[in-house]
Amino acid sequence: MENDVDTEIARLQEERKRTEAAQAGVPLTGAATFDQDLYGGGDRYAGYEQSIGVAEEEDELDERERTLASKLQSYTAPKSVTQAVPDEEPGQEGGFQKPGRIVDREDDYRKRRLNRMISPTRNDPFAMGDKTPDARVRTYADIMKQQQLDRERDNTLQNIVDKQKAEEEQAADRDRPTKASGLPGPPPVPQAAAPQAGEKRRNRWDQSGGAGEAKKARVSEWEAPDSTPGSSKWDATPGRLDTDATPGRWDATPQAGSKWDATPGRIGDATPRKNRWDETPTPGRLDAGSTPGWAPGETPAVGATPSAKRGRSRWDETPAGAGPAATPAFGATPAFGATPSIGVTPMGGMGMETPTPSQLPKVPLTAEQYQAMRWEREIEERNRPLTDEELDAILPTEGYKILEPPPGYAPIRTPARKLMATPTPIGGTPMYQIPEEDRGQKFDVPEALEGLPEMKPEDHQYFGKLLKEVDDEELSAEEAKERKIMKMLLKVKNGTPPQRKSALRQLTDKARELGAGPLFNQILPLLMSPTLEDQERHLLVKVIDRILYKLDELVRPFVHKILVVIEPLLIDEDYYARVEGREIIANLSKAAGLATMIAAMRPDIDNIDEYVRNTTARAFSVVASALGIPALLPFLKAVCQSKKSWQARHTGIKIVQQIAILMGCAVLPHLKSLVDIIKHGLVDENQKVKTITSLTVAALAEASAPYGIESFDDVLEPLWKGIRMLRGKVLASFLKSIGFIIPLMDSMYANYYTREVMVILVREFQTPDEEMKKIVLKVVQQCVGTEGVEPDYIRAEILPEFFRNFWVRRMALDRRNYRQLVETTVELGNKVGCGEIVGRIVEDLKDESEPYRRMVMETIDKVVGNLGTADIDARLEELLIDGILYAFQEQVSDDANVMLNGFGTVVNSLKMRAKPYLPQICGTIKWRLNNKSAKIRQQAADLIARIAIVMKACDEEKLLGHLGVVLYEYLGEEYPEVLGSILGALKSIVNVIGMTKMTPPIKDLLPRLTPILKNRHEKVQENCIDLVGRIADRGAEFVPAREWMRICFELLEMLKAHKKGIRRATVNTFGYIAKAIGPQDVLVTLLNNLKVQERQNRVCTTVAIAIVAETCSPFTVLPALMNEYKVPELNVQNGVLKALSFLFEYIGEMGKDYVYAVSPLLEDALMDRDLVHRQTAASVVQHMSMGIAGLGCEDALTHLLNYVWPNIFETSPHVVNAVQGAIEGCRLALGPCIVLNYTLQGLFHPARKVREVYWKIYNTLYIGGQDALVAFYPRLEDDGINTYQRQELDVFV
């Protein structure tokens, strides 16, 4: 059926072309002067890559979340364009960070989403039945026809551009100045615009003068939200640059035509311009772009313009800007400034007359104008010139003299702004008109409506209607509905969470009643809004998601519209946006059905715009994952074999690629068929198709690894043929796919194919192409990693060339190259052994480039870490240590860990063999500990920490002791980072040589550490407390008890630390100290600390008490602790309860001996008025019961449960949790039966509040003891027809 349509279209197309050619009288071929402005000079994507780079890096980024995608790493626009991107939101430099707008973080490629049109609603053939669709509704055939036209046009434009280029090259020899040649632009217009005036004007319009502004203007137009494809045609027009650069180009409109004519290379531009304006307006545009409050005809300016009805907002913006209130914004509006057609429009003279305010009573500012104005004022305020008084105040009065300005000097203070203040109307003579007062005029006061959230200025465009006072009765049903939707959307977009929630619910509930059309017609333009922020988009997308469910098949006519808006989410930087986009498209395809989805997206598959094709392919893959691959296979097959255009084939194959990336191993069942439908692409005549096909094969192989090699049988041959014949990008992609296929093969084949491909790889080792390099490295890694490849072969065939070509300094400079090279080398090392690799690169440790040394070190680190140093001989060992020492000493950069890790790994791996080098290493360390630079001292100390174990293994205890003394001397270090490292080093020395042998002796060391405990730096604290704890644990007897008490007091302070590790180490240390000097003194200190105010401190104290109790047996602590409960102070009592809670948690079943002792206390606490008492006591019961389950304390626990139970009706969440926990604990200890009996009382209580609580308890009980409960359920009596008795348990034998 599709073919029928295609042929039909082709036929109609032919016809149309013929008639058109006859009418226009412009031959489509041959030497003719082309309507350049009509066709706009053709390729508007000149300078952009038409297809995505071969490496498809963004896919990996997308799917794997591997890297932080940097904006400028994008794969489309050339550098020059990205650099010149104008700041969309100039206010940002002003120091005001607005919540992130989406456009601001998008790159050029992603911004192309704004060029897409929300297409008109389409026909839903399912709803139509057999009826013929209404002529006004766009059917599938219409769209296909239009696509065809677009393509034709694109081809034509391409031809024109080619021709143009040729002509220009001829003309280049002549005197036509170009920007590139550095010659001055064409002479300024001789008329009214004197050079200076021209300069000023230009500044005014373009706001920020200076270099590259022409470009800026261009780009901003690119991004102008409403730019129709036609508008950007201007950009690519060769020779345009010159015009731009011409000062005064905006000048006096009447003369503009002649000026343009004066520009060489532009022929016959009058006609085309007219044509351009006559372009049919697209309905979608009208919705989106129209400024609220604007009706055509309201002002003479617009009424006089034939183009007033056009959706493009450039006309709409003009009058608003000309009003006095909006004056500064006029020039500042980037979209306006960038619109090339204003100045040259013949009607401009009429249109540009300054309308009096009365003519424009209620035109609110557009969002851009408002922003620009705000920014303008801000900057003006900040950068205002200093007054003389201010200067006097700043500068000293004596010793300075105020000079007279030279005669003839007139201060120019940024003419741009000066001009901005007094607008000069274009066209006529600037004459002052007394503005008529208009009290109804709204300035920039944000307007708020009753019951609605505040409206941002940029919202006026969409929600402006709400500001108008209307009488509800006068509205038609449609209008009322529209207003209603608008209100709800505004609430969702800007409202407070409750407002948003209720609006969202209303929208969802009434979706069908409101109808798909009115809903989407408002939501979708909002989503296309250029000022949209992330949060807003998220909310609006959520709205769509919700109403999709409700609308179901009613969405069909809107599928394409929705896709246009949602597809860009699929390539968003933000992971969650991508997920959201996928979800919507999946839901959409479930709601609309496969046929509709295909009908909606089919035309986009061979769209001329690469961006559209790319996003469509991704959307299709989501459809496939939602509806199943098999459903889509026939269609994909047809697309991939399309004869009509390579774009269709390319996109079809890309869909398969995206499916593989999206679905991963879920492609396995369909692998064979997927490979089958794309395999012919490998021999396609189009390079791009070839490339994408091989990338797709790679993606499929990656997704299906390690299975499915048999499915790839068919592509092996073309791949291998391909790599012999191809070059460049295509070859790279072929190699990539081979790289992914080889690991799937069994060893014999892998070996064979590796040898085959290696010839090519070795040849490509020398490639200068970065992309190719990365791929080659990756493929080598993959090939070498497979089983069948022999080490000897690698040694002989790969290694020499590999090291010669890749191990060069340049590779270390690019981060991705660096990483890939290290990985590949490590993989090679895994096959050929450590010695081979280390031997080849060890010399480079002494290379003069530091990044290169670092790369060498990292490789050695990894290789040695994987394989050990067994096959490194004595000579190499020497070289290695020598090199490492050199590299370690020579490092200057901040990224020091690579060297340190490498050093540590190698020395630790050498073990005993490192002995001869240790004195030398220690010498270096000692010398560096004395270095002036803190960084170096720190590294030295860190290194000690790493090699201490090896030194001990080598019997170098004396040396270690010596280092200990040296470190001890450096404890006065002032840099906290270094001090932390020194403490760490001391700790590792103490750990390996033990307390008794330690030098300096512990009794000297510890008093030195006590003051350091006061240090507030985290690293110092952590290392210090670790060391102190270690000493308390192992060598407490070396230190007098009084010193330990002193430390106890210091430790209390450490409980305030932010880092959990420090607090944990501290409470542990309390335990060690208590063990060493007995719990009494420590306990007194801790109990006193319960009185402090800080909660965190008290909590930590309770933990410490519990730990002391655990280490010194509970009976040493409990009496004092329970005694403390008598203190009539809330904090103390709660602290005691909390300590009990931790205590019972830690001592577990030891608790059975103490249950009866603490029961009276708990009774009291569980009856206390204070909520926290009861809460904490409940958690004591929880921990206690869990500890002593099955140990025969059921009586006490039942007793306590009786006290816990009344608390079930508490509402505070913490109490609820604690009580729930206590009940759970009791279930464990007492069995579910008892708790069930408690629960049964309230399951059918008349009061709902009671029932709810009881059912919640029942549910947790049920989950915990489903099976055990069976025996205890109550006997239910039969009731009427229902049998409720369970006889099975009554059975007797």
């Binding site: 509402t1211 969440p1213 609820v1216 949790n1217 729930q1220 399951l1243 059918f1244 709902r1248 029932r1251 709810e1252 059912w1255 919640k1256 029942y1258 549910n1259 947790t1260 049920y1262 989950i1263 489903q1266 099976d1267 409960l1269 069976v1270 359920y1273 239910l1276 009731d1279 009427g1280 027809i1281 229902n1282 049998t1283 409720y1284 369970r1286 099975e1288 348990l1289 059975v1291 007797f1292 034998v1293």
Partner: protein
């Protein structure tokens, strides 16, 4: 039912967990529904504990397989058809 507060704490997770079990109940559960849950749980439990099935088999003088089958069948409508709903509810 859930307040704003406990939407963010452990209780919400608990409720989610509970929702995953068919046999859990809520404040609006009626006698019949609860009894059905109890019966199904009971049968499942009997079938799951082999000694229990063996005991029943001896008592009923049936084969173990038959007893299991019977229990399974009873799980379909353990308490008969649901009672008519009240209009008031």
């Amino acid at each position: 039912m859930a307040t704003l507060q406990d939407r963010f704490n452990i209780n919400s997770q608990l409720e989610h967990l509970q929702a995953k079990y068919v046999g859990t109940g809520h404040a609006d559960l009626n006698r019949f529904e609860w009894a059905v849950n109890i019966h199904r749980d009971s049968y499942a439990s009997y079938i799951g504990h082999h000694p229990m099935v063996a005991y029943l088999a001896v008592a009923e003088n049936e084969s173990i397989g038959r007893v299991k089958y019977n229990l399974l069948q009873k799980m379909l409508l353990p308490c008969g058809l649901p009672p008519e709903k009240d209009e008031t509810e």
